[in-house]
Structures are given as C-alpha cells and as structure tokens.
Symmetry: C2
Subunit: 459 residues, 2 copies
C-alpha cells in the first residue's frame, strides 16, 4: 500500500489542530528559519500569531525576517507593544530597515516607537540613503577594533560585543576619528600570538565602497574579490557600515532580473515575485516598450509600401519576408546579448569596440554563408523540385541567399555596437537587446532584400 | 597643465624596467591578489616569472589562482620543480583542481607529481566528479570537530589546523565514521563557555547536499538560506567536502550567463570571457539555433504563400506584416522571459499553470486593446489623413487592430505556457525564450491576420 507523504506544513497544521504545543515547539526548533517562514506564508492568518509565540525568541526573529510582507503585517498587527519590541531588539538593523521599507506609514511609526533610541537612530541613518545606493543595503552593526589593542584584548571585545553583530568574521580597525585604517579577520586573530598588536597583523590595503556608490558596483566588487563583507565609508573616509555577502547576493539576483527584463522589453518596476504582482502592474511594466516598438515598426511598413510595385510583380518574394526578418533578428540578438552580458561581467569595455566588430564581422560571414548554403539547397531541392513551386527560380533563390549574408553581417554589427555605445553614453546596455535590435534589423533586412531583388530580378 | 594619471600596470612596468625590485615588492605587497593577477595578464610574457618571484609566497599563490590560464601556463612552464611544489602547497585543493582542469595533460602530470601524496589523493578525489556536480566544486579542506570536545579544545584544534582550511567560520562535527552530526560556527564557539561540549551547543538540523547534486541546486541553497558554506556528503551520509560561498557565487554567475545565452538562441559551450573565445567557437555556438529557426520560419512562409491571392488583391496588407509579427513576438517574449526567470528563482511551479494563464490572459487583453486603439488612431490620423494613403480604409484598420488583439492574446499564452511545459518535461525552460516563441507567434499572427482579412475584406 502506498502511503502519502506528509508535508512539513500539514504536519505542523495537524499538531496545531490537536493543540500539541510542546511537540510543535520541538519540531519548529529543528527547522531552518527560511523553511519556517515559508510555512507561515501558507497557513491560515488567524493561526499565525499562535504559532509565532511558540518559537524561541531568536528563531522567531530570524523567521520573521524571511517572511513575505503580508505575514509580517499580520504578525505586527497582532503583536502587543512588548512583543513587537522583543522582535525588533532581535533583528539586525539592516533587516529592520528592509522590513520598514515595505510597511505602511502607521506600522513604521509603531516599529520606530518600540525600537531602542540607539537602534532608531541607526535605522533612520540607513533610511536616509537612496534606494540602490551602498548606504541603503549596509548594516551599522559591525565589530570595531583599535590599532593598539592586543589580539587577546580584541578577542575579549569580540566575545563581549559579538552577539549583536551581523558578522564577526571580518573586524574593522578604526582610529579615534572613526577613519578606517585596516581590517582583520577572525582567522588572522586566532592564528596570531595573544600579545601581537592589531596594528602589526592587520591588512592595510582595504578595499571599500562609498555610501553613495551604486549597489551594482558593490555586488561587482564581491564578485571580483570574493569578500564576505565590504566596508562602507562616507565622504570623510569614516567607516559608517558594512555590506555582507548575503545582501550582495540579493543585489546580484535583483540586477540580473532587471537586466533580463530590460532585454525582453519589460520596464523593471518592482522586485516582487511573479505571483505577488497584480495584473495592472504587469500591464504597466510591459505596455511602454510594446507601444514604442510598434510605432517604430511603422518604418519597416513604409519600406514595404515603397516597394509595393516590386512585390506585386513578384509575389513569391513576400513568402520569404518572415524568414529573413527572423534570421536577421536572431543573429543580431545573439551578438547584442553576448556583448551586454560581457559588459555587465566587466569582460569588455568601449575601447574594445574595433576588436569586437572585427570578430563579429568574421563570425557573421561564417554564419551568413552557412545559412545561405542551407537555404539555397532547401529552396532548390524542397521548394522547387519536391513541392514543384515554379515561382522559385534560381534568381529568386540567389536574391534570398544574398540577402541572408548581407543582413546577418549588418545584424551582427548593429547588435554588437549598440550596447557598447549605450554604455559609453551612460544608458543601460541591456535595453539594446532583442526587441530593439530586431526592430532596426527588420528595416535593414527588408531594405537590403528589396534592393537586391530589384537589381537581380530587374523588377 | 594636465597630468596623465599612471595606471598600476605602468607604474609596475617602469619599476621593473628600472630594476627597483625592493620598491616593487613594497608596491605589490599593498595590492589585492585579484588586481595583481590582472597586471600579470597584461605584462610581457618574459617578465612574468621575474615579477612572480618578487611576491611573498602566500600572496603569490593567491594571485596565481586568479590569473587566466595563459599566464598560469607561462608561469608553470618557467617554474623549477621546487617552485612549482611551493605554489601547489599554498593552494587550496579546490583551486588546484580548477587550475588542473584547464591545463594540458603534460602540465597536469607535472603538477600532480609535485603535490604531496595526501593533496594528490584529494585532487584526484574531486577530479572524479562530473562537471556541474556539487562534488566538482567542493573543497576537501575543512575543520572537523568531535561531539565530545570542549569549546576550549575545539578552539585549540582550529588554531593548530586552521591555517590550511578554506574556511574556519563554519566547523563540521562528525562522529568516528565521518558521519556529519552537526555544525557549529566560530561565532558560537567564541560566545560559548570554554567548558561547554560541542555536542551541547552545535546545530543538528544541518542542510547539506550530495556529491552528485547539480551545482545549480547548490547555488540555489546558498541563495535561499544565506549560508557561508554548505557541507557535501556522499551516499552513506559521510562528510566529504564543503562548498564555500565564493564558489557558489561563481556558479550563480555561470548559470545566469548560460540562461541568458539560451534565451538568445546561443548554445552555451564554454565559460570563457568574450575576448578569450575564438571566431570558430563563437560560430559553433550560434549557428545551430540559427539553422533550426531559419528552417522553422519556412512554415510562416508557407502560410503567406497560401494566402498569395488575397495579398495580391490587397497589397496594402503586406505593409503591416512586420509590425504584427514584431508586436506578437515582443508580447510573447515578455511573458516567456518573465516565466523563465520566475521558474529559475523558484517563485512558480508547473502546478501554477492555470493561475499564470489566467493572469497573462488578462494582461494580454489590456495590452492588446491599448495597442489596437493606438494603432487605429495612428492609421486613421497619420496614414490616411496626413499621408493621404487611400488604401488604408476603415476596414483595413479594423483588420489590423483586431489581429493585434488576437495575436497578443495567443502570444502571451504561448509565451507563458511553453516554459512551464519545458520544465515539466525536464528540458531547460530558458530555451523557450524570444527566438523560439517568435517563430511560433509569427505563424500564429500571420494565420490570424489572413483569416480576419479574408473574412472582413471578402477577398
């Protein structure tokens, strides 16, 4: 007999139903906060508060951070002021800021009222930075050491203050003016002698970011240097916060989603998951580019209109328009997307434009000739001989194949240069992807097609 | 007078030129290994070995790991056996494996011959796992503790053995059979009492991966749970390695590049940067999909051919073909790319298909009606009244606008369902992006167009 496997959620619901609270507490205690958060998002609203109160304080706060804003709102709404204060006290400052940013004004006020004055000050400090800046994703809870401390003193200090810090694995050495003078890892500390001074073993070539730097730049630094945390300094080079690798990973993911959306002609508007975005919001993010691209396609229509008499004389030419447009578009997209990705990985820059063009030109000729040969064989063998279509003459096949080669050549060149120019001019290269390139390449391919056709077919 | 800023590379080259070796050593000592590696990739081949010998041992090894394979080959070629052994001794095992995977067989043999027997065994262990598996990206250097140890003993052990471990921040508690029974962070250790046993303070609900799991799954776990390291166990649940967050970030980046390439009809073949890939390799990764999509476009051509007489009767219809095809393609791509990204972020699953379809249907009607209205106004005001094109009748405008609405509806439905089906059937949804969707939507849009045209215009 097959037995149905019970999901963690069903197990928890049935324990809750049966009021088996101590068993429930044991079960929750073995779970990861992320998985607990998922369960909170799925169970009935009226049971959330009860379940939350079964969690030990620290686990409760960790799970709270991971929940979606709906569950957080329900919980905050049900909290007494004391409960709310307890949760906030357990949160890291940057997590508290993330939550506050999603809450309505009245909830924000309540949260800030319950926070310790010191924490409230730190929260307000971070809230002041614009979205997408390094300051907005940093936390203000880090371990500060002094250059003249001994390793023994430093470890004592970490033991005393470490519990509230987001990371203790990298410690920051500051002078009395809060200027960052070095960093030291806990590994360095543990492997050093107890009487060594911090100054004598710290790393002084510190890579840091400025509070106003773009968060994408921060993520790229993590990617390049394999850091676990990165210090954030203000204009006066004073250490004001750190960004940890988990937040940097979130930024990387956000930026990739934005790039992919832009490549598909979607205006990035939100970082909410697909199932949380409403129909109108989705519509609003998609319609602008559809409109712009539709209007742009008018030019392509005008090219066709101006060759109307040629088309009327040789209607068979119309049948190849979709294939030529698509192949041109696809060739251009391949080049543009490759260049966009290389730009965002920092592999190439604007100064490489001629090298890039030369390479794409050679690739385009190889691709063009291959496709032209394949298409020629197909047109002569399948269309003309097998399907007996007498409109497909040798001349028509030559026109189509020649157009393929020329179109692919231009498509790849347009595809590889536009993202580079966009970057140079300070625009996001990701916009120069498939839809945009396709619209331009369509016009090029049709123009080339009709020019070659009128010349070869004498129409 | 403007002064030209000197790049680090120029500075180092001029110091090298002037044989200022001690100054050079000082300068290199303040630099990050990643930045040193970049300079090695740029300077002349014959100077590489000299510059490398100026680096302190540890920094030399760290920089060596970050270089491209060309510079690594040149260096290894110039190394004496003793020098090679010194560098290998400094490397972490997983970095050594990464290097070996890129080297020709004779160099691999030389490296393995110089490695310590123990290290050689570990390297061969990792090499045995297939590319893309968790085993292939793990390292075998981690800190193992025993359940009955006290915190004091544990910290002593870390101090003694930590120097060679890739991370000491998470320690792994194993029983005598190497079964993983818990994990403990160095933060837990430092904040606990010296006489507590490891068993009493370790976390027992450990999330781990199997050696044979896909590396993408590993990266997703990092993303979901914000780990700094993740244990890798074999079939018998014995701990054989760990994956650290920096390697997981590399995997994320690799997977995103692959997805983006597939979305643009490129066959991912290599993880080399753009400027390191040859023309033929680029050609080989692009031509297969171009061929497949070109052949598929034949069907679109056949649809046009079968409506040839209708087109001959009303040539003005041809001018709107590119606009209809492009708008359909763009609408479909928006939906497909959104779904592909949501799938890879784990936001939706196949079981959500009806919810997704319902939402996309509503979005598509909103988009369709907006575009139809805009297009109707444009055709009647601009094309007919301003440009005086008398072929554009009210009936023609109605045909085009009605086609827009129907096409966008189908485009969005095809775009959102195909990636879900691909995932369900075990294919990569990323292939179901713009180029593929465009080819299908082209055929749909033309078919709809001509059907509506023959019905309304009675041709």
């Amino acid at each position: 007999m097959e037995r149905k496997t019970v999901t963690p959620r069903e197990m928890i619901e049935s324990l809750l139903e049966g009021k088996k609270y101590s068993a429930l507490r044991e079960v929750l205690n073995t779970m990861n906060p992320v998985d607990i958060a998922v369960i909170f998002e799925e169970i009935q609203d009226e049971k959330i508060a009860l379940l939350f109160r079964l969690l030990p304080k620290e686990l409760a706060a960790d799970a709270f951070v991971e929940m979606d804003e709906e569950s957080q709102k329900i919980l905050i709404h049900g909290f007494s002021d004391t409960e709310l204060k307890e949760v906030i006290d357990e949160l890291y400052v940057d997590d508290a800021v993330d939550i506050i940013e999603e809450m309505p004004a009245n909830v924000v006020k309540r949260i800030l009222r319950q926070a310790d004055p010191d924490v409230r000050k730190q929260i307000n400090e971070i809230l002041k930075y614009t979205d997408d800046s390094a300051g907005s994703i940093m936390t203000t809870e880090f371990v500060v050491l002094r250059p003249m401390m001994t390793v023994e003193e430093a470890i004592k200090r970490i033991r005393r203050t470490g519990i509230d810090k987001e990371t203790i694995y990298t410690c920051y050495v500051c002078d009395t003016k809060s200027t960052l003078v070095g960093i030291i890892t806990i590994k360095d500390l543990l492997l050093a002698g107890e009487d060594d001074t911090i100054e004598s073993i710290m790393t002084t070539n510190v890579i840091s970011v400025n509070t106003l730097d773009d968060q994408e730049e921060v993520a790229q630094k993590f990617n390049k240097y394999n850091f676990l945390a990165l210090p954030v300094v203000d204009k006066e080079n004073r250490l004001v916060g750190i960004v940890t690798v988990d937040d940097a990973i979130d930024v990387m993911e956000e930026e990739v989603t934005e790039d992919i959306q832009k490549m598909a002609a979607i205006t990035p508007t939100t970082d909410k998951p697909y199932d949380k975005i409403g129909v109108f919001e989705t519509y609003a993010s998609r319609i602008p580019w559809l409109l712009i691209l539709m209007i742009s396609a008018t030019f392509t229509g005008m090219i066709i209109a101006s060759f109307e008499s040629a088309l009327a004389a040789s209607v068979v030419l119309t049948a190849f328009i979709p294939m030529l447009m698509d192949t041109g578009g696809n060739s251009g997209s391949q080049a543009s997307v490759t260049i966009i990705r290389s730009l965002s990985l920092g592999e190439i820059e604007f100064k490489d434009i001629f090298k890039v063009m030369f390479k794409e030109a050679r690739v385009s000729l190889l691709c063009g000739v291959t496709l032209a040969v394949a298409n020629f064989i197909k047109m002569m063998l399948v269309d003309r001989m097998l399907l007996n279509n007498e409109d497909i003459t040798l001349a028509v096949a030559l026109v189509v194949c020649l157009t393929l080669i020329v179109t692919i050549f231009f498509a790849k060149l347009v595809g590889c240069t536009l993202p580079l120019f966009a970057k140079k001019l300070g625009f996001d290269p990701a916009v120069m992807a498939s839809p945009f390139i396709t619209t331009i390449v369509d016009a090029i391919s049709l123009f080339v097609y009709f020019e070659i056709a009128t010349a070869v077919l004498k129409i």
